[in-house]
Amino acid sequence: MEQTRKMQRTIIGYIPAESPMYALHPVARLILFLATGLLPLFIEAPEYNVLFIIIIFFMLKYSHVNLSRLKIFLPMMITVGIIINLTYFFFPINTEEGLIIFSIGRFNAHFHSFMWAMSIYIRIIALLLASIFYFSTNRERDILVGFRTLGFPFIVSYFFGLILRSAGIFLEDYAIIREAEQARGLDVRNLSFGGKVKHFSMYLVPLFTLSIRKCEDISIGLFSKGTELSGKVDGKKRPDYLKHKMKLQRTDKWIIATIIAASLAVVYFDLVVDSFSLENAWLYRTLRHTWFNL
């Protein structure tokens, strides 16, 4: 088959084969993901996490990820936002201050609860976008090489590899099932949100049945190959072809060092200086002053 623009299939999409991300060693990409995904959890101040989100958007653009694909995550982002806000509305925290933004019946929207919900939501979105970035720019093998290079035990990387493969098979089956629905006259685009949810639940029957059948096939396959879940074969260290093939370059080492230094700085400023707490956040203080003149 002839190729037009060469694209590389990743866990959740395609990016051009010449994407700058491929210049980096998988372990550098894994550490970048861990930093962008985990650091927002140390930061309560929403404005810093918004900054993180902007940085991730720049990275998505720089890596030539098709940003229109983010649309499919919108329903999830909205649902998470609604659930978190409702939770903090009905089960508020730090109510002793008595700063109430509005009331519905006997329920009050407390300022601190509202800000805390916002902080958690933005952290989750930052984590979600970091995950989308990572899985949009990496293949299964890149992730496994990253794991093995970092010294994760064979069994951990092997199970993670199986999970990723199952996710890929699941998404492939999902796409075929949607095609089958379209072939029977259902255009999902014309459905209401409720209709889409109802139809998604219908997909679960074939998806789970197919997954169970495939899980059984995989386990039989592993058994028939005499798979041992150990990092050693016949007492010797298990050979690793891909790990041997991909070597860390000087650029990778610099990037890893920079990310680790930046991460340590964030942890230091959070735990020792308390720079990223919600109460010290600029947005928190500004809104508190604007709404309550405090």
Partner: protein, 283 residues
């Protein structure tokens, strides 16, 4: 009487998101009531081409018309599915209702057809597909593969499409089941007038059931014509890594003693052998 065109394909090109050009400049017409087989090696574009025909995959460029409907540009898939149905290779991908009745009724209900007519269509499609009403309340997933395949076909038949595409109808089935499915498709073609397109690797099935063959390689149509015409093109088939049925190959080896090179059935081979045997030696 000249048959009318049911599918018109012109300069069709399709590229996958990874940049692979799966279909390259295909122009071909299909006629009402034909029984067509798409053959070729894995990855030659048979399935992609057939998915383009019913709009599941949107062509990158070119035009496809099915019964006058512009498949490439139409946004309304409901009109399209009334004309062309697609049965997937694995029935498990297209069964998602909790009972067989709802499964067969699913497509007509999507078209907002009144429930009385839906019932009529389900009964009719199930009868044609050999699915008895006694199993209507059972879950489609707990049937054997042959029955699941029939339910999948019935769920498309209830749309009453003019064209039915069946992707590898005999894969994973034993000889008896394969013959049953193919006889069923033959009946749909001959008795009910459906145009049938099958995608297959089984040349014996092609020789026995198809009336026209499309040979594909590298996303292009390498050759097309009647089964006899195509199977007689030995060099061309070799290029596409396709072996004609054994009986055809035997006849081709015996061409020097008077056999035709396009024999596709043992019956025809035997008949010609008898004719040749009656001729005086040396003629």
């Amino acid at each position: 009487m000249e048959k009318s065109k049911i599918i018109e394909v012109k300069d069709l090109v399709f590229c996958y998101p990874d940049g692979t050009k799966a279909i390259e400049d295909i122009s071909i017409d299909f006629y009402d009531g034909e029984f067509i087989a798409f053959i070729g090696t894995n990855g030659c574009g048979k399935t992609t081409f057939s998915k383009c025909l019913n709009g599941i995959l949107k062509a990158t460029s070119g035009t496809i018309k099915v019964n006058g409907i512009d498949v490439v540009h139409t946004k309304d898939c409901t009109e399209l599915v009334k004309n062309i149905g697609y049965v997937f290779q694995n029935p498990d991908h297209q069964l998602f209702n909790n009972n067989i009745y709802d499964e067969i009724a699913y497509a007509p209900r999507n078209l907002r057809i009144p429930e009385d007519e839906v019932k009529q269509r389900v009964t009719e499609a199930a009868a044609i597909a050999g699915v008895t009403p006694e199993v209507f309340e059972e879950h489609p997933f707990f049937q054997v593969k042959g029955i699941r395949q029939r339910i999948a076909i019935a769920s498309i038949l209830s749309l009453r499409p003019k064209v039915i595409i069946v992707d590898e109808p005999t894969t994973g089935q034993d000889y008896k089941q394969s013959i049953e499915v193919m006889e069923f498709l033959k009946m749909l073609n001959e008795k009910h007038g459906h145009t049938i397109i099958i995608i297959t690797h089984e040349m014996d099935i092609v020789a026995e059931y198809a009336k026209r063959v499309v040979v594909m390689t590298g996303g292009r149509v390498l050759s097309e014509g009647s089964v006899q015409e195509v199977f007689a093109q030995t060099e061309l088939l070799e290029k596409a890594n396709i072996k004609p049925p054994q009986v055809t190959r035997l006849a081709q080896r015996l061409e020097s003693v008077g056999f035709d090179n396009n024999i596709i059935s043992p019956e025809k081979m035997f008949e010609q052998w008898r004719q040749l045997a009656k001729q005086p030696v040396g003629k």
